[in-house]
């Protein structure tokens, strides 16, 4: 009951003066399971996301076994895979496709959308803007439990006898629409669609909450221009999500109609299994347009939060303000807008009108400009810093390097003429795994290392963090860099084996290297897992602000309770990146320190703000008298 009461009083008008009634008495169920506290929900998302990441990673190692060691006898996996192994002890070709499909689905949606955005938007938005909780704790809770339901359904689909969806994570019809085309397009596909519907509901509930919280619940003084870049990133991410996920919903709904109710949105002139289907007039390309209208913004839904997190971490650990704050916000805004008008670059050679190809080439390469600006800004932030290589910082540097390595190949793929050859080859696989997959994953891990002290009140072990970083960083490069060569040589993706082709007969060595590196990288994640679990219980106790950071979350107690701040929510006076300000005695000045207290380090225009601060404080005091 206490939790519910609290939320009724946590309206924005008088959140300042109710710091005294946070003692929360709920029982186990309301505190840890059906919790409405944003921090608990964030942890729920994080732990679910980590579980999914392990599943997704394991699936990828399974299909890498097939690609790296095509002649290996995998009979020892029989107890786990059962009928999915052929009698010769090899992975069944159709199961191979199921593995690829589920790996993509899990990683893109369940790990890097829910696990990343769900964790850090929930955890950081209220803490960094100075709010007691999300705008609607109840919707926030629903968001998690819809995600959980969706997870259960998707997880179940892995175990049914006909296998999970297997037509690629993009589920292009007619393959995904016709159960007679492959086993996975039967019940597995139905479960995929149902799970995604709940996933979309969850994502929308979350996004609406993030947006309303950022707009309405910022503490006094926290103007938009004083928000940390993390918050900007989560804000844009949520907006992109709200605008694009409903389109996936529509695409999925029409696919459900085609599959179950005999409509022909995506189907036309099909002869399969010895009979001509009655469907005529539909277009498979329509589905691709709808899918990528979500699919491309989805890339940025995954990436922007990671970029926000790394901005924060790089500034903190370089002990320098992030370079070009406004340019960083501007480029994120520009990326967010452009992300809606580049989708068809996934479709240059699908039979789409070539004129559209030219338009989308043009728009796609424009989006490279703000991305380049971001990289330059990161690098300049490092310049003349005083860099502390915490585990979080190392992962953030890793992120920037992946963003660069993978981003640059986007210039090839975005150019329709060059894309003809590279489309659907391993070059594409290398590109998006680096720029979106690994970069976002590193952002997520960096975020965990950085905010772990605030989540659990303890420190993660840094040395294990270094080992984890080096194994993963080198591992990821060893997995994905060689794929560029394999792709330039024309090797198509989603191939069970290449031995049927003379043209694709080489690279057994590189493929083996990639597989070994993949196994190593997955194994390294267990170091992280151990560190994570161990540190929750036995980690060194953290101080309230272990990284000497400026943002508001570090002004909360070691373990922030329900309502986050014990007393009043601090007022914000300055931007979030006053690191190493000339004249200041410490190398950081938190956001809640007024300029009047730091005359030694104020810049000329900031001295003028002091008067303004005084006036505002006076108003606050008067306001309290009423």
């Amino acid at each position: 009951m206490a939790t519910i009461d609290l939320h009724q009083t946590t309206s924005t008008e008088h959140h300042d003066d109710h710091g005294h009634d946070h003692a929360h008495h709920g029982n186990f169920w309301t505190n840890y399971v059906f919790s409405e506290d944003h921090k608990v929900i964030a942890k729920q998302f994080l732990i679910s996301g980590m579980a999914w990441a392990l599943i997704g990673g394991t699936l990828s190692v399974l299909f890498r076994l097939q690609l790296g060691f095509p002649n290996a006898d995998l009979s020892w996996l029989k107890p786990v895979l059962g009928g999915w192994l052929t009698p010769e002890g090899k992975i069944d070709p159709e199961f191979y496709l199921a593995l690829v499909t589920m790996h993509g689905t899990i990683m893109v949606f369940f790990v890097l959308t829910a696990g990343l955005s769900g964790t850090f938007s929930n955890f950081l938005i209220p803490l960094q803007i100075g709010a007691r909780d999300m705008a609607s704790g109840f919707m926030n809770m629903l968001s998690y439990w819809f995600f959980f339901l969706s997870s259960c359904i998707m997880f179940t689909s892995l175990f049914i006898s006909t296998g999970p969806a297997s037509g690629g994570w993009v589920i292009y019809p007619p393959l995904s629409a016709l159960p007679q085309a492959m086993q996975g397009s039967g019940l597995g596909m139905t479960l995929w669609l149902v799970a995604m519907v709940f996933f979309i509901v969850s994502s929308l509930l979350g996004s609406i909450n993030y947006i309303s919280t950022v707009i309405n619940m910022r503490t006094k003084g926290m103007s938009f221009t004083k928000m940390p870049l993390t918050i900007w990133a989560f804000f844009f991410t949520a907006i992109i999500g709200i605008l694009s996920f409903p389109v996936l919903f529509a695409a999925a709904l029409l696919l459900v109609f085609d599959r179950s109710f005999g409509t022909s949105f995506y189907l036309s002139d099909i002869y399969i299994g010895g009979e001509a289907l009655p469907n005529q007039g539909g277009s498979p390309i329509l589905f691709q347009h709808l899918f990528w209208f979500l699919g491309h913004p989805e890339v940025y839904i995954v990436l922007l939060p990671a970029l926000g997190i790394s901005s924060e971490i790089i500034a903190t650990n370089s002990r320098k303000p992030i370079f070009g704050y406004k340019a960083m916000v501007g480029s994120m805004l520009f990326i967010a807008i452009l992300s809606f008008v580049v989708w068809a670059h996934h479709m240059f050679v699908t039979g789409m009108n070539p004129f559209l190809g030219s338009i989308f080439t043009l728009l796609t390469l424009i989006i490279a400009v703000p991305s380049a600006v971001k990289i330059f800004n990161y690098v300049t932030t490092l310049w003349k810093g005083n860099i502390k290589f915490t585990a979080a910082m190392l992962f953030s540097i890793g992120l920037v390097s992946f963003f660069l390595t993978g981003g640059i190949t986007g210039i090839f793929l975005g150019n329709s003429a060059i894309d003809i050859q590279l489309h659907d080859t391993y070059f594409v696989v290398a590109h998006f795994h680096l720029v979106m997959g690994s970069a976002s994953f590193f952002g997520m891990v960096a975020g965990v290392y950085h905010w772990f002290p605030k989540m659990f009140g303890r420190m993660m072990d840094e040395k294990l963090g270094y080992i984890h970083f080096w194994l993963t960083f080198v591992g990821v490069y060893l997995v994905f860099f060689p794929m560029h060569y394999i792709g330039i040589a024309g090797f198509p993706r989603r191939y069970y084996s290449w031995t049927n082709f003379e043209t694709f007969s080489g690279f057994a060595d590189l493929n083996m290297l990639v597989s070994i590196a993949a196994i190593m990288t997955l194994a390294a994640q267990f170091i992280f897992l151990f560190n994570f679990i161990y540190s929750i219980f036995r980690g060194k106790q953290a101080s309230a602000n272990p990284w000497k950071s400026t943002t508001l979350e570090w002004t909360t107690p070691r373990i922030p309770g329900h309502g986050n701040w014990l007393g009043e929510i601090p007022t914000v006076y300055r931007w979030p990146y006053d690191y190493s300000k000339p004249g200041a005695k410490d190398d950081y000045i938190p956001q809640h320190i007024p300029y009047s207290e730091t005359p030694e380090s104020n810049l000329p225009h900031e001295n003028e703000l002091i008067k303004l601060e005084m006036e505002e404080n006076a108003i606050v005091v008067e306001g309290h008298k009423h």
Binding site: P93, G167, G168, P174, M182, L267, S268, D269, I270, Y271, I272, G281, G282, P284, S318, R319, K320, F323, G324, A327, G351, P354, G357, L362, L365, I366, V369, A372, N377, T380, L382, K384, G385, N386, I387, F389, T405, I408, I411, F412, I418, I420, Q421, D424, E462, Y466, Y477, Y485, A489, G490, R493, R494, Y495, Y496, E502, F507, F530, Y534, Y579, S580
Partner: protein, 353 residues
């Protein structure tokens, strides 16, 4: 068990760490910081070194010889983009990891408060924009040429994808036109769904190998019978999806015959191949289709003339030809006289449409 032991070792290590003084710990932190800075530097040098070494030494291994006119253009664009981006990539990579090394933490040093610089920011917005614009426009020109309409005298070939094989249909040498097809007419023998009421279909022939002439434009008309497939001719730098319910098309000029290529690669067994690059189900990886490029147009036409019309191979379908066109069908498809009468004598039972 193993995890338990690891846990114990780790726990003991930590407790030992606690015993150490705070100062000692700080010193250790700082030495780790230096180690990480050096490692990042080594990673950069080693990584770039490996990248350039492998790219140089194994160049032959990862590049495919090109065998089409537009392929030479797109290859040029590819390597141009490669040159530009590798320079940018290497520069940023070196600078970034140099910074992480040079500006690693030192006690007592203070970072420089450097929040923005508009000139710098404008410069690195404008320069990439200009470079990208140049790359885009050269790309767009190539794209428009490649996707423009095929010339009227291009050889037209139909490629049909199905789970899990390809078939090619050629217009016969007599009319040089592909006959109409309708998916509802597909059956076990009539795999193209040939519409035999169209007289252009009489001399169409099927091939299980894609034959191409060298030096002349070829237009592929691509379709699929069941799910999406994609025609991929790696040496010709050609890729286009096969979509049920519509034709997609790609035109190109092969520049090297199979014999030329055998000579160039020094591999007497070299063969061109076609693959499927849109996931289409269980047998996706096995949709290989052999390709042969003739040395001259004459050779190619000779080969075409030597092929039997589909109708000749399936004379039973003569029954489906409307009565008034049967004679034309017999002549065009080249059905021998003795089998004609037997077929014609049979009663017409099947009428479509």
């Amino acid at each position: 068990m193993l995890l338990g032991i690891l846990y114990l070792i780790f726990r003991i290590g930590n407790l030992v760490g606690l015993v150490k003084g705070k100062e000692e710990e700080e010193e250790e932190d700082s030495s780790w910081n230096t180690i990480n800075a050096y490692l990042l530097l080594f990673f950069m040098i080693g990584g770039l070194g490996w990248f350039f070494w492998y790219s140089y030494v194994h160049f032959e291994g990862y590049t495919l010889p090109v065998a089409s006119e537009h392929g030479e253009v797109t290859d040029y664009l590819f390597w141009l983009t490669m040159a530009v981006t590798v320079v940018a990539f290497a520069l940023i990579f070196i600078v970034m990891f140099w910074f992480t090394f040079k500006y690693r933490y030192q006690k007592g040093r203070k970072a420089v408060f450097f929040a923005d610089d508009h000139k710098l920011e404008i410069a690195w917005t404008v320069v990439p924009a200009i470079v990208l614009a140049l790359l885009i426009f050269s790309g767009l020109k190539a794209w428009n040429d490649i996707t423009g309409p095929a010339s009227k005298d291009a050889y037209v070939i139909e490629m049909v994808g199905q789970q899990f094989l390809w078939t090619a249909r050629y217009p016969g040498v007599k009319d040089k036109m592909l006959g109409k097809q309708n998916y509802k007419m597909i059956d076990a023998s009539n795999e193209f769904g040939l519409d035999l009421s169209d007289k252009n279909s009489f001399d169409d022939f099927k091939s299980l190998e894609l034959h191409l002439p060298k030096g002349t434009e070829v237009q592929l008309m691509i379709r699929a019978k069941d799910v999406l497939h994609s025609v991929f001719l790696p040496h010709f730098r050609l890729k286009m999806d096969a979509v049920p319910g519509m034709y997609t098309t790609f035109k190109f000029i092969p520049t090297k015959s199979t014999a030329d290529m055998r000579e160039e690669t020094g591999n007497p067994n070299f063969n061109y191949e076609m693959a499927c690059t849109e996931v289409c189900g269980r047998g996706h990886f096995s949709m290989r289709f052999p390709v042969f490029v003739h040395d001259t147009i004459e050779d190619y036409e000779k080969w075409m003339a030597s092929q039997e019309a589909w109708l000749k191979q399936n004379p039973d379908y003569l029954k489906r030809v409307p009565a008034n066109l049967r004679e034309a069908a017999i002549i065009k498809s080249g059905i021998p006289v003795d089998s004609q009468e037997a077929i014609m004598a049979a009663p017409v039972t099947v009428t479509l449409n």
